[in-house]
């Protein structure tokens, strides 16, 4: 009834939707970088969409199923193999006890999610199972996975009647996630509280430049490289709230886009915010990739999110019928 870590990856953490209700104490929500991938991964194995999942980067871990499990991989495609057999993303898979899961190369995306049917048995801290690395709490003992860690499952199912002696069953269909991610490198943003501090030329540059994601990019934020942006206000900002997606202008004219492990407050000008609907797409962009910013209004931002939620709802029913028709 568990998953054993044979060899850890670059950064493997347990995450859910995030920890809310404590930002006034400086406790940041953390949570998955790609909320769409988390939802799809859970739906594929019959979980509720915000069940805690394993978030992996490349190099990814080598894992062994200590008992049979129904699982799914979503988000990045790291060319997964279960005892040598190909495991496609966005597809439910049944693994027999004793099989090993490994990832060979990063084919697409930056973060891969693994869900197991019934979920992982993890202690909740302040109402969430997300790992907060800064305070070492939540998730799996508040830290990234290490060799010999054992991740228990909440539910025991033997799957013997499905496996019939085989090591792996790959379901003959996959979830269509195209509607959940932007079609190209364009991210939509909405002007922030200090947007007007930018000079007209800088506002223009913001939407015309091909921006590059630098190696100084992680779960806290993506540092973006390109022509410097200038301010027409030399005012210092007293600390005020920031959220994942907030675009902060740094003193050197470069900017950073805050991600899931962002602080709750900051003192840099908030020139904009990447809309919620485009954050999963940004979470899957890799160091060195280029992005463009497109300005939208609040109605468009909320509508885009609503379309995404409807897409997930449709997928939920589609998967429900597909799973129960097997």
């Amino acid at each position: 009834m568990s998953l054993l870590v044979l060899k850890p990856g670059l950064l493997d953490t347990i995450q859910d939707r995030g920890r809310f209700g404590y930002a006034h104490l400086g406790i940041n929500p953390t949570g998955v970088m790609d909320i769409s991938a988390m939802s799809v991964s859970n739906l594929l194995v019959g979980n509720k969409p915000d069940e805690a999942v394993l978030e992996m980067h490349f190099p990814a871990p080598r894992l062994r199923f200590e008992s049979a499990a129904l699982f799914a991989l979503t988000g990045a495609d790291f060319d997964a193999r279960l005892d040598g057999q190909v495991v496609p993303v966005h597809t439910p898979v049944v693994a027999a006890a004793g099989t090993a899961l490994e990832f060979r190369k990063p084919l697409s995306g930056a973060r891969c999610y693994l869900s197991v049917s019934g979920g992982f048995e993890m202690e909740s801290w302040l109402g969430s199972r997300s790992t907060n690395l800064a305070v070492q709490a939540g998730g799996f003992h508040g830290r990234a996975l290490q060799t010999d860690d054992v991740l228990p499952f909440r539910r025991a199912t033997d799957y013997g009647d499905i496996l019939k002696g085989k090591k792996i069953i790959v379901f003959p269909w996959k979830a269509d996630v195209r509607g959940l991610y932007p079609g190209d490198e364009t991210l939509r943003f909405f002007p922030g509280a200090e947007y007007e501090w930018l000079t007209p030329g800088s506002k223009e540059r913001l939407v015309t430049t091909h921006w590059k994601i630098t190696p100084h990019s992680d779960r806290m934020g993506y540092r973006i490289e390109g022509p410097a942006l200038d301010r027409n206000e030399a005012v210092e900002l007293v600390s005020s709230a920031v959220v994942p997606g907030t675009i902060q202008l740094l003193p050197n004219g470069q900017f950073i886009i805050l991600m899931a492990d962002s602080q709750t407050t900051g003192g840099y000008p908030r020139i904009g915010h990447v809309i919620g609907a485009d954050m999963p797409g940004l979470a899957q962009m890799r160091v060195g990739e280029v992005l463009r910013l497109q300005q939208v209004d609040l109605q468009a931002a909320e509508a885009a999110k609503a379309v995404q939620i409807q897409g997930l709802l449709r997928m939920r029913w589609g998967i429900y019928f597909a799973l129960h028709a097997v």
């Binding site: 809310f20 209700g21 404590y22 930002a23 006034h24 104490l25 400086g26 406790i27 940041n28 929500p29 801290w125 302040l126 907060n132 800064a134 305070v135 070492q136 709490a137 508040g142 909405f190 922030g192 509280a193 005012v235 210092e236 900002l237 007293v238 600390s239 005020s240 709230a241 920031v242 959220v243 997606g245 907030t246 602080q263 709750t264 407050t265 900051g266 908030r270 915010h273 990447v274 809309i275 919620g276 609040l298 109605q299 931002a301 909320e302 999110k305 609503a306 939620i309």
Partner: protein, 235 residues
């Protein structure tokens, strides 16, 4: 007091009373924070009080509930405007009074000599001024449990270090401009470190993980290195 209401992305609403460290402004912030906590508008997951601003973080579908034509932001903005238009009879609840021991010994105060020299004061006088008044916890942020407090006597107000340290020990007490704060965890940091407290500002295992909350009133008192280690061993 006039304020500006603006979106903070598509899941935040920012109420801004002006970009200042000012006790009267912060009283407005915390008063509305308190009222919003009690009103508990649907869809709002977090309220983030800061020096001169309060931000509502919300989940749009829940906040919009029952008002399909409006954006979540507009729905919440109306509720906030209603509260602002109907101020309470009594202003603000007074925060808790908390005394915090600080060891100002040179071994735990790497920037105290330089800060004292810069201010033209003996180190003892800096300690006397730092412990000589009660500070308001304006807000928590930067790190879990990090209190932004102030304001310090203008004689000891000192700008941040030009080169931030990559490692500041947990419990370090610092000054940045007119602000004073305490690092709850080891982290990078650019504040002038003038002492260290043995108290734990953050403990994930406690029911209330942070020692301080916005609105609390804090007074520091000096302790010796020996007392520091005794308190640390006992906590």
């Amino acid at each position: 007091m006039p304020c500006r209401i603006a979106p903070l992305g598509d899941r935040g609403l920012l109420i801004d009373w002006g970009n200042r460290i000012d006790e009267a402004l912060n009283r407005q912030v915390l008063s509305l924070w308190d009222r919003l906590r009690r009103a508990s508008p649907p869809g709002v997951s977090d309220l983030v009080p800061a020096y001169s601003s309060l931000t509502l973080i919300f989940n749009a579908p829940d906040a919009r509930h029952g008002v399909p034509a409006a954006t979540a932001y507009d729905t919440l903005r109306r509720q906030v405007e209603h509260l602002l238009a109907n101020p309470p009879e009594t202003e603000e609840t007074t925060g808790r009074q908390i005394r915090i021991p600080v060891c100002y010994d040179q071994t735990m105060a790497p920037d105290l000599p330089a800060l004292a020299a810069r201010c033209g004061l003996p180190a003892d006088k800096v300690v006397e001024l730092h412990t000589g008044r009660e500070y308001r916890v304006f807000m928590l942020g930067f790190l879990p449990g990090f209190p932004y407090m102030g304001t310090v006597d203008e004689q000891i107000a000192t700008p941040r270090l030009s080169e931030p340290r990559s490692r500041v020990p947990a419990g370090s007490v610092g000054i940045a401009g007119a602000q004073t704060g305490i690092y709850p965890l080891e982290s990078p940091g650019g504040w002038n470190l003038i002492g260290r407290t043995p108290l734990r500002l953050f403990d994930a295992q406690r029911a209330e993980p942070t020692l301080l909350q916005p609105g609390d009133r804090v007074r520091f008192f000096p302790i010796s290195p020996r007392e520091f280690h005794q308190i640390q061993a006992g906590s």
